[in-house]
Amino acid sequence: MAEGNETVHERLSSEYSAGFVTDIESETLPPGLDENTVRQISAKKDEPGWMADWRLTAYRRWRTMRPPRWAHVEFPPIDFQAISYFSAPRGDRPRSLEEVDPEILRTYEKLGIPLHEQEALAGVERPSVAVDAVFDSVSVATTFRETLREAGVIFCPIADAMREHPDLVRKYLGSVVPRADNFYAALNSAVFSDGSFVYVPKNTRCPMELSTYFRINAQNTGQFERTLIIADEGAYVSYLEGCTAPMRDENQLHAAVVELVALDDAEIKYSTVQNWFPGDAEGRGGIYNFVTKRGACLGARSKISWTQVETGSAITWKYPSVVLRGHGSTGEFYSVALTNNRQQADTGTKMLHIGRDTKSTIISKGISAGQSQNSYRGRVRMNPAAEGARNYTQCDSLLIGDRCGAHTFPFIESRIPSAVVEHEATTSKVNDDQLFLCRQRGIDPEKAISMIVNGFCKEVFRQLPMEFAVEAGKLLEVSLEGAVG
């Protein structure tokens, strides 16, 4: 903590530091979406024929669907024909790190993402993290694939998995989030470009943290990645996701789908630090982050845990959920969502209890500053067979200033008397007395606010892997800039 303070302080005066553009040649499809676009994407990725059909089915369903309107967010209608659905650095896909364009390597270096196996292997104090780096529509590098392969773990771009592990992909792709689940999931199913695929075999503890780092670079391009993680019986994996984008005046669409599958006694821990460009102080630009994330606890005693720290994006529409099918399975959702300036977030979770003795925990911390709007939306459903199911929900909102809004929309449906559902909610303000106490003790107001907010989020940060927790703390500090006064 103590050593961290210096850097935290430096970060205070920095702006959105990931907002630069990488100057590389890209191959980008012209804006517009029809069946031909879908076929082109599939062809560019050299996909098997069944995949093209799968996409086309999704596309046809999407054409019949409407964007959801129930979220507490406002934005002008999106012109889906004005977006380009594919952009990739020009040239053949690099087969090893040596072949990756140095400009791209420098981009990840600037963002602090390690893409060099050697350094990490040399064992500089911290445990190594395997990284899949997705740049616009394609994965440009995946580190530690060999080391992981020795442990039997598959970690590769999903495009590779379609060719190399078609049985697994065909079995599970769309099994948790069906193609027609919602408007954005259908769009993603039609045009998704890249993302990560993970399979951890039976009784295997994945030997390192896995992570995917998403970077939007190209202008006027949507990002539609797809992640599929399968933990076989008795397997364990911890997965981290990070994301940034350049500062641009126009809004960019990010519509991802993440599917998690946990079989008997398996555990998946999925952590996100979301730092897409939030737009400027007047609300110009920023990412529309419309994401469907869902995990299925298929197996008995399996566990899926979502932890998210959401600080970026102009609009966030995101509900990482768990379907608790296996008996005795556990779902967790730990969330910090911070909005500042004109940001809007409508985020939360769904816990669907189907199996008996299933348990879920929801801890949501919403922080609103500036003129932002921050909503928690949660659904807890206890099906008739979910005997002995339990849910605990705690939903806290913190307001900074008096021009922002915090809202909670909890929905609870229990169709079985033996289920127990507990819900607690609080709303508080960073008050003048707290601020004055800090300032009287010599602590400047920006630092004071960030300390108070970090304290408020402590329960969630505790769930993050160590390095991510430090990163998340810093990110809050930067995101709160200008929130005081």
Binding site: M1, L437, C438, R439, Q440, D444, K447, G455, C457, K458
Partner: protein
């Protein structure tokens, strides 16, 4: 050390301090007494720079430097400390983390070398022990769920670690049982030295049984109406403030 001249201040538009003059030299302990509502906390807040106290005229100088117009944190960095009458809670921020942030801010402002984490923890533990607070107390959220007595001892703990030049203690004695009062008084006596000064705000004289003031001032309706030595405190205890009104 501290020089206040003809200080006038308003709170929510109402004149509260109506011309205060006060001089405190290094090594002195001054007590300010007065009934509820006489303006004692307003004076403390005016010194510390609370935004809802508006200084309309006069001056306050700490070691020659005027405090007027300075941000609260700048005043703290000059060596002003205020122990609050009603310490506020900051849940989730541990006492230790808070204290370290305060000490680091001071050191950064004074361009001193930052204290190492280890030596900081050591001095925090020692200070806590002197106030009969367990190490566990340092890990709890700032004032979160503390008893009244613990909150007051926590203020003194912060004072001991920050080593201010001028400590203004606003009713630090109220709400303390006799044992806690002794512990707190011991802490204050250990702090007081030839190079600093203490301004004790209280409306009972019982704290003054444990801490000997050099001067006692009576504040009534925003003015210091009488100044004397510690015998004045006893007289007030016997006769009440009514005689002075």
């Amino acid at each position: 050390m501290l020089e206040i001249t003809d200080l006038r201040a308003r709170a929510v538009g109402k004149p509260i301090l109506k011309g205060i003059d006060l001089a405190v030299r290094p090594g002195e302990v001054h007590a300010i007494m007065g009934p509820n509502g006489s303006g004692k906390s307003t004076l403390a807040n005016a010194l510390a720079g609370r935004a809802d106290v508006e200084v309309t005229s006069g001056d306050m100088r700490l070691e020659g430097a005027s405090l007027i117009g300075l941000e609260p944190e700048a005043r703290a960095h000059l060596g002003l400390f205020l122990a609050f009458q009603y310490p506020v809670e900051i849940p989730g921020v541990s006492n230790m983390e808070f204290l370290k942030a305060a000490v680091d801010s001071r050191d950064a402002a004074l361009e001193r070398e930052a204290m190492s984490a280890a030596s900081f923890v050591k001095s925090a533990r020692e200070a806590a022990e002197r106030l009969q607070l367990t190490p566990e107390f340092l890990r709890r959220g700032v004032n979160a769920g503390f008893s009244g007595g613990e909150k007051k001892r926590n203020e003194i703990l912060q004072m001991l670690l920050l080593e201010p030049k001028l400590a203004v203690l606003d009713e630090t004695d109220s709400g303390l049982d006799i044992d806690a009062l002794r512990t707190v008084a011991k802490g204050i006596n250990a702090f007081a030295s030839e190079t600093n000064a203490v301004l004790l705000i209280t409306h009972y004289q019982r704290l003054l049984d444990h801490i000997e003031p050099d001067f006692v001032h009576v504040l009534l309706d925003g003015r210091i109406v009488e100044t004397g030595d510690k015998s004045l405190a006893r007289k007030l205890e016997a006769d009440g403030y009514a005689r002075l009104a």
